[in-house]
Symmetry: D2
Subunit: 337 residues, 4 copies
């Protein structure tokens, strides 16, 4: 049984594990006040060309989303998201649990547009309604798509004009940045958003997301929020060491490229065989539409998630590759098709 | 300038005011523990044929909604509502502020159906998503429509089968129950829902909603919730006295009937002149579609809310009548058409 | 049975009721956007010598407290209060329900001091603890005591130095300002606090508290908070009309003076008979220590609250007078002693 | 510089790290649905003699506290804690951020007693106050003390009688159970509490707390709460593997015994030299009172936290030992005294 269920089925890249082993018995200061964390932050600041950014290393994505959003919003303010956004469907109401409405806009490709944002703004006109104040996007999105630089610039502009914070969930940032159709860089993202994060969990770390706060308004007292939400890791250096490794020697990009390369092989094989896709993805998540009988057959040797039924005899499945996906796994799947 | 903006533009029916005046200098026990409140509760229990119901008199509708919903739900649970539901659009995120997601289902007529509820249930399958636990409906709805007994029975059944609480917002219960097409009674509603309320604010009281809790599970410690949300009126007898008047001598029904009768005159006149309506309402809210130039003209002598633009030269407006709407006001409007 | 249980046992001063009657059938704009409310705000602005204050009329005290505090604080911030503060003991955790810790400091007289505030500041040093950001005081306090101008100036200074908001709960502001030992005025309070309110419920209105926001930082979007917490009264003019009456012809002060005068007669009689008091109050709440047998006897003809047991044969009771307390009631009680 | 600052200054016991290395490239099911987690739960169920307990492995202590408490309490309910309790002072208001008041009772030794609980119950009498529903204790406590079996039985009884949940924070459970004065076992604790946890972070794991839910009422849908609060680790097997190691071959107890043994050497040396302690601890946290000049001298070679000033020339410091504390470190400190 080989798994294409997600990109966090294996623990960590051996190089990351090795770094953790090397520092194992050294005494560190707790709560992310250690020197590894400091160094990791420096590396990220360099990488994004933004020496003044505040960087916080946090264990998981839902934590990072809920802390960031509840820091940015006053109690009556809301965050705009695609209907498919992770915060809208896959976090058990974590944002609402901090008191805030998610304004979910329907999309066909998981991406917000200036038009959708404008719709949300036009509808919310007075104090009987929530006040939109933040825009949440994911890159790559939950359906494998990604933002171009031109698209992100347009989102940046409408957000600036309307005093909205732009927040990019980068749980799969590596996949987006190393996709063949990508034209965005981390420095671009640091310039065009107010806050974003760089995902480790889904790109070869044991765990960890590096939250980058660019906008000064969102910086004060952020560690209070991390602690209050139970997200301040006692042994914070574990996060620091992992992000040091990710941003030394290009490991972050190398792993993400591998995941994308493995996905592109799957995509080519599926396309060659005439199958279509529910979403046009060039990243490590694919959503092919397959005959149900084939899906049943594939399930014997491979694990993956069902996305949804398409018609009486076809369904969409989700295939995810990762830094650890093997060529053998890919080839076996292609043979099984 | 005559107002059709809403059904709470005047203070209170003179009979209610008179009762308040009569008791003005009498000393009462505070916090709704007085004899008028007890009596009002008895009258309502008789009216709904439900001697064991718990009844709480609360100043306003948003308060009543947020207290009821946050009492019923555990932190990860959600409430299903029509997209147009008051809790979804006109309460500034009050439900989310108590930590709960509103699962908003699109409708054409403001009414939930078993199909829509089933869709919400089917989509929310595991602990990565919120858990639907309550269904919120309004009767009459925000667009003037209302539930038939058969429709409410179907909602009752799907809720029972799926362990969902059924909550009816009755801010405009009077208008629904006295509508010419209505076949529901308060005893029916007490039998078919878990909790509902009977609106006073929009039907001739100074303020006040009578929340009726039928389901035992929702009864314990409810006064703690009222107090915590700031909704326990110090001089609670003011609410008791008003609901005594509403449920003595049929005042509640008389006033609502008048509002509906006034609306039906407007509806007939508009229909006679060939205008259509965005929603098919037989209650005190009408949504006629009118030429923009006529709307501008009407605005000189009448106040009302714009609903939305329909096409380049037509818009939908909202006309609301009340217990206090005068025949002269109606006739003046009809002449102005 | 005559009641000294509290100062909100009767409905409203007849003059206030008369004003409500006079406007009863006039159509008003809802949600406190009417002309009576505008006028009431003007009267209060004049009274406090502060033309730029934002004023909001809100039905009850717990609502006002929870809205104000949750507006002022970011999620990790806390409010300092006396242990006896209303928000700490008598609001069913309403402040915590908005997410904020109440830092309760023990006092002997219900009053906070610069020393107590400094203690709270000294203890809370880093992001593992909440951050004190607001100081909550009541005037008069829950035990009948009151702040002098010198005391309030000292609180003002320590708050300024430490970037703390100073919030005065004035549910019994009238009693404080008309006490024989008072040297504070409303303009003083507007100058020395960031936000405060003037209580109507406990001083002759049917209900209503006038919240005065002096500090610019607390003003933006306040109506969103009022609406979200369910505190925006549909028929807001009911509040406006009441505060117009309170601040025309000195009615606010006349009623409070009467309450204090009635209390002072009780106090003199109790003192003359040799009884002592648990707190040194010159306002409308008295806390005499009486023999248990006398308390039992008094209970036959008078209602009042027990405060606490003092020793094996004595208890402290609470006697409250109001704008409506009659001389006959006072004399009967004195005779019964 | 040798650190006695806390018991989580080193990463993990080598045996734990080795287990993580061994499984590194194996594909696992995410979100704690893997076989290592299942096995760890079995081991713990055996260890506590409680086959029906629900066990959840969670990254950190504050997370575990806030999820457990907010699961157990309805919105108006409160948790009783010692003033020194971790939830009261060192979690940045995490419990209040979930909407609940912490009722903090003063103690001299960090331990709650039936008397203190009764005081809290007696004070909170009606719906104007929060309703106590849970008792939170730590074992060992924040000041190094611990509960005897007799003490825990008494707490159990008062909780049962008053329908209070008893929750034991066991972040330092190992230290308590291996203390020379301990007479409690994990099966005792499973019998006498409703829910408790066994700390890994402070006893040799990289991170992780094993929450044990004994009371059926607290079990339903707990994974929803974990997910909503951002505490569901994607690679949950990392927790499973660690707790497998902790509860195989007695590693959990061996490590805790070592920490206590190291502390007892420090304690003996300090006692021999005539120093006293602020708290009577037989676990791995010591609170000696030392002359300020000696503290300054010690700071040159050792790191530790200041507890508080005792008098003009003495302060209390906190010394913490761990599974990783070396005899050399201890001896160096003793020499430096």
């Amino acid at each position: 049984m080989y798994s294409f269920t997600n990109d966090y089925s294996e623990s960590a890249h051996p190089q990351i594990l090795k770094a953790l082993i090397n520092s194992n018995l050294i005494q560190h200061t707790g709560y992310s006040l250690d020197s590894h964390t400091d160094h990791a932050k420096e590396l990220i600041c360099e990488e994004i060309h933004c020496p003044d950014a505040d960087i916080h290393l946090i264990v998981g994505g839902t934590q990072t989303n809920l802390i960031t959003i509840s820091t940015a919003l006053r109690p009556y303010q809301a965050v705009i998201s695609a209907v498919t956004g992770h915060i809208n469907v896959h976090e058990t109401g974590a944002i609402e649990a901090t008191g805030h409405k998610v304004l979910a806009m329907p999309t066909t490709d998981g991406k917000l547009t200036p038009d959708l944002i404008q719709q949300a703004l036009d509808f919310h006109t007075d104090e009987h309604m929530v006040q939109p104040k933040m825009v949440y996007i994911s890159n790559s999105t939950e359906v494998g798509t990604q933002y171009s630089k031109a698209e992100l610039e347009k989102l940046h502009h409408i957000c600036r004009r309307n005093h909205l914070y732009l927040f990019m969930d980068g749980a799969r940032m590596g996949a987006a940045l190393t996709s063949p159709v990508n034209d965005l860089t981390l420095p671009d993202i640091a310039e065009l958003t107010d806050v974003f994060y760089i995902g480790g969990t889904k790109n070869g770390a044991l765990f960890g997301e590096a939250l980058v706060i660019v906008n000064e308004e969102l910086k004060p007292d952020f560690r209070y929020m991390i602690k209050q939400r139970g997200a301040m890791l006692a042994k914070g250096w574990l996060l620091g060491i992992q992000f040091e490794e990710l941003f030394q020697n290009n490991l972050f990009y190398t792993m993400a490229s591998h995941a994308n390369e493995m996905a592109s092989r799957l995509k080519k094989a599926l396309t060659d065989k005439g199958y279509s896709f529910a979403y046009d993805s060039c990243t490590n998540q694919l959503f092919p539409i397959l005959p149900d009988e084939m899906i049943e057959r594939l399930k014997k040797d491979f694990s993956f998630n069902m996305d949804r039924r398409i018609d009486a005899s076809h369904s969409c499945i989700r295939l995810v590759t990762s830094w650890a996906t093997t060529k053998e796994g890919i080839e076996a799947f292609i043979r099984a098709l």
